[in-house]
Amino acid sequence: MNDAQGQTIQQKVRDEFGFDDLSDEKQQALVQKMAESIVKRVLVDAYIKLADDKKAEFDQMMENITAQEPAVVEAFLRENVAEYETIIENAIADLKKHLGEAGE
């Protein structure tokens, strides 16, 4: 292996592609956007599964969502939606599916 080849592929990628430019801040923003996307899906899919009387209660939460503690919303959904874990897993899987071709 000559000197040029001796340079690790990792270094090459970093140098050639400039991946280090993707700052922590940008990465966090990206991760947050992904999380938002999943949360939206979870809220909608969980809502569909709620009983009618619980839907009314959840509507009130949604009307003022920015004042809600995530833990409270979670507790409510966990208590009233039997397939809550599955909904989360499906939401993640769906996002992965959309992002899939980027990583495959």
């Binding site: 292996m1 080849q5 001796g6 690790t8 592929i9 990792q10 090459k12 990628v13 050639e16 592609f17 400039g18 991946f19 430019d21 993707l22 922590d24 966090q28 923003a29 990206l30 991760v31 956007k33 992904m34 999380a35 938002e36 996307s37 999943i38 949360v39 939206k40 899906r41 979870v42 809220l43 909608v44 959840f58 509507d59 009130q60 939460m61 949604m62 009307e63 969502i65 920015t66 004042a67 809600q68 503690e69 995530p70 833990a71 979670e74 966990r78 599955t86 989360i88 897993e89 499906n90 993640i92 899987a93 996002l95 992965k96 959309h98 992002l99 071709e101 980027a102 990583g103 495959e104």
Partner: protein
């Protein structure tokens, strides 16, 4: 050429097809004439393009991507909605092939637009990071648009709610989302892995980079080293604490130093072979081991640390030929837990990974085949993930053998243990216990329950029971009901259940494993006489209902349907059955209990 005014189209065509020379009697080959004409027109078009073609307008392309994404999302939502409605009537219904194909075509078309825009951005001199972010956001936008479309169909406050999720997550309550434990944090275990995957995807898929790396085909060559390092780099960027950062950096440095030396010492051919083996799909499988099942429980900071540690150690282990990834995960979890809440989730995470790893050793069906069906049934996706893990381990082994020769000779993971040896371990008491009806039935069939056990990895025996003849399901149910009051399920019953459902209980052991000395079901339900009360009745008691639900939830996570209480099953029986079940797959029952209390 358009027909002139006052002249029919056919007349105009006739004049065009037969030019003046022909009219003068010269022989004209019509086909040649047309060919010449087409060539000439093509050249004219090219010249015109050169004159008028401008560099692609990135903003216009972005708008196209947005529009295309919107259309794709609506189409996907309509298709999914239709399928869901059909499935209410026909639960096993699948997306018709032609519609699925149409959907894939639309996805491909959108992906092409995204790639086109990325290319234009790079050509325009935009930073690659910006292109990466655009690419990711474009895809996330499709997901969001689909959700919004679904919400609009419902209408009402949910539309308002999801419209404010961004604000929610950036506000005070939302800050907890990114750093703490909560339902949103629950979801973040996924994005962390997705982000890494996406970033890697851009690196792998970029033709420029792939070629610079010496790839013959785009995306073929990316080293395991680089990927593992990328895992650590990106996970650390999620925002880990000082202690966590130290751990990450330590692991990364140690890992990189050791592996880089190993890698660079290899002849180019071996390097190439190794790189080829660790392509995108292999790494993707590693990810799925880590992200399957309860990885969604992984949380904020801890998720970054855990995933990082797992990735580093797992890849290190793989490169060394040591496949039992979950063991390492447990070790790292023990070293990297910042607080009790995180520790609990981390434990669960590690257990899940451990379970997935054990499942991986089973090696059975193909992920790609099952994945097609994941739209239909979440459980199928779960199976697919497990199967995928199996494929991953298999491939990792092959990669090791290909690149490092006899490395597995040093790994005592193929110790053959004969059935006779296992039988010798059975206690005399166990052997002398009276057989129940099903055990007798099995004995009368003279089929060995355990006929070929061997340790693969993780020191858990893998038992093949394919030859056990089926017993009518009714007998199983009947026996189960008869045994509801039994304090201890008999070994034969456990074994025969495995014989009935080998696909659900592949990690069988031919005898009951004794429970840990500290196992005490009363930690979960401590009511006088509760042990003899059925689960259904106990669940009516608000003092213990929640704990029972949690216990059942945890049991089902590990054991699937077998983790559900049977009708009329007493608490004592159920708790012991679950504890023995999880113990068989290598999980400490006390941990399960501790998770619940």
């Amino acid at each position: 050429m358009s027909p002139r005014i006052g002249e029919s189209g056919s007349a105009a065509l006739k004049n065009e097809e037969y030019p003046e020379e022909d009219k003068k009697g010269e022989l004209v080959n019509l086909a040649e004439y047309r060919e010449d004409k087409e060539n000439k027109e093509s050249q004219e078009d090219s010249a015109e393009n050169v004159e008028t073609k401008k560099p692609a307008d990135v903003e216009a392309l972005k708008a196209e991507v947005a529009s295309s994404g919107e259309n794709l999302a609506q189409a996907e939502e309509s298709r999914d909605d239709a399928l869901e409605k059909i499935k209410k009537v026909l639960p096993d219904a699948k997306m018709p092939d032609n519609i699925a194909t149409e959907g894939k075509a639309q996805q491909a078309e959108h992906a092409e637009k995204v790639e086109g825009c990325v290319d234009a951005m790079l050509a325009e001199g935009k930073e690659s990071s910006e292109a990466l972010i655009f690419k990711a956001e474009a895809k996330i936008d499709v997901n969001d648009a689909k959700t919004e479309s679904r919400a609009k169909k419902i209408g009402g406050a949910i539309v308002t709610g999801i419209g404010k999720v961004g604000e929610w997550m950036s506000g005070d309550p939302g800050k907890k989302i990114m750093t703490g434990v909560g339902f949103v944090a629950t979801a973040i275990g996924g994005p962390v892995a997705i982000g890494k995957r996406l970033a890697r995807g851009l690196v792998i898929k970029s033709p420029e980079i792939a070629k610079k790396l010496g790839a013959k085909e785009d995306g073929k060559i990316v080293s395991g080293l680089e990927k593992a390092a990328k895992f650590t780099k990106e996970a650390s960027a999620v925002g880990v604490g000082k202690r966590a950062t130290g751990l990450v950096e330590g692991a990364q440095a140690k890992f990189a130093e050791k592996k880089a030396k190993q890698f660079e010492a290899m002849p180019p051919k071996e390097q190439a072979a190794l790189l080829e083996k660790f392509d995108g799909s292999t790494m993707s499988r590693l990810e799925k081991i880590m992200t399957s099942k309860k990885t969604a429980i992984a949380i904020g900071i801890a998720a970054g640390v855990l995933v990082t540690m797992m990735a580093g150690s797992a890849m290190g282990s793989i490169l060394e030929g040591n496949i039992p990834i979950p063991t390492n995960i447990h070790e790292h979890v023990a070293d990297s837990i910042p607080n009790e809440q995180v520790a609990a989730a981390a434990e669960q995470h590690a257990d899940a990974a451990s379970s997935a790893g054990q499942t991986a050793n089973k090696g059975s069906f193909k992920f790609s085949e099952i994945r097609k069906e994941h739209h239909v049934d979440g459980n199928i996706m779960e199976k697919a993930r497990e199967a995928d893990a199996a494929n991953f381990v298999k491939q990792a082994k092959e990669a090791m053998q290909a690149s490092t020769g006899n490395i597995h000779e040093n790994v005592s993971d193929n110790v053959e243990i004969k059935h006779e040896d296992l039988v010798k371990d059975t206690s005399p008491m166990e052997a002398s216990k009276p057989k129940n009806d099903i055990a007798s039935t099995l004995n009368s069939m003279k089929k060995p329950i355990v006929n070929d056990s061997h340790f693969e990895h993780n020191d858990h025996p893998i038992v093949k029971t394919p030859e056990a003849a089926p017993v009518p399901h009714e007998q199983v149910v009947q026996a189960s009901q008869e045994k509801v009051v039994s304090a201890e399920p008999k070994a034969a019953q456990v074994a025969e259940n495995h014989a009935h459902q080998p696909e659900k209980q592949p990690m069988a052991s031919h005898k009951e494993a004794p429970l840990g000395s500290s196992f005490d079901a009363r930690k979960v339900v401590n009511l006088p006489g509760a042990e003899k009360i059925s689960i259904d009745v106990l669940k009516e008691n608000p003092l213990v209902a929640e704990k029972l639900e949690r216990f059942q939830g945890a049991a089902q996570q590990y054991l699937g349907q077998a983790g559900k209480p049977q009708i009329g099953e007493t608490w004592d029986h159920y708790a012991k059955r679950v504890a023995q079940g999880v113990q068989k797959i290598g999980i400490d029952p006390d941990k399960l209990i501790n998770r619940v209390i």
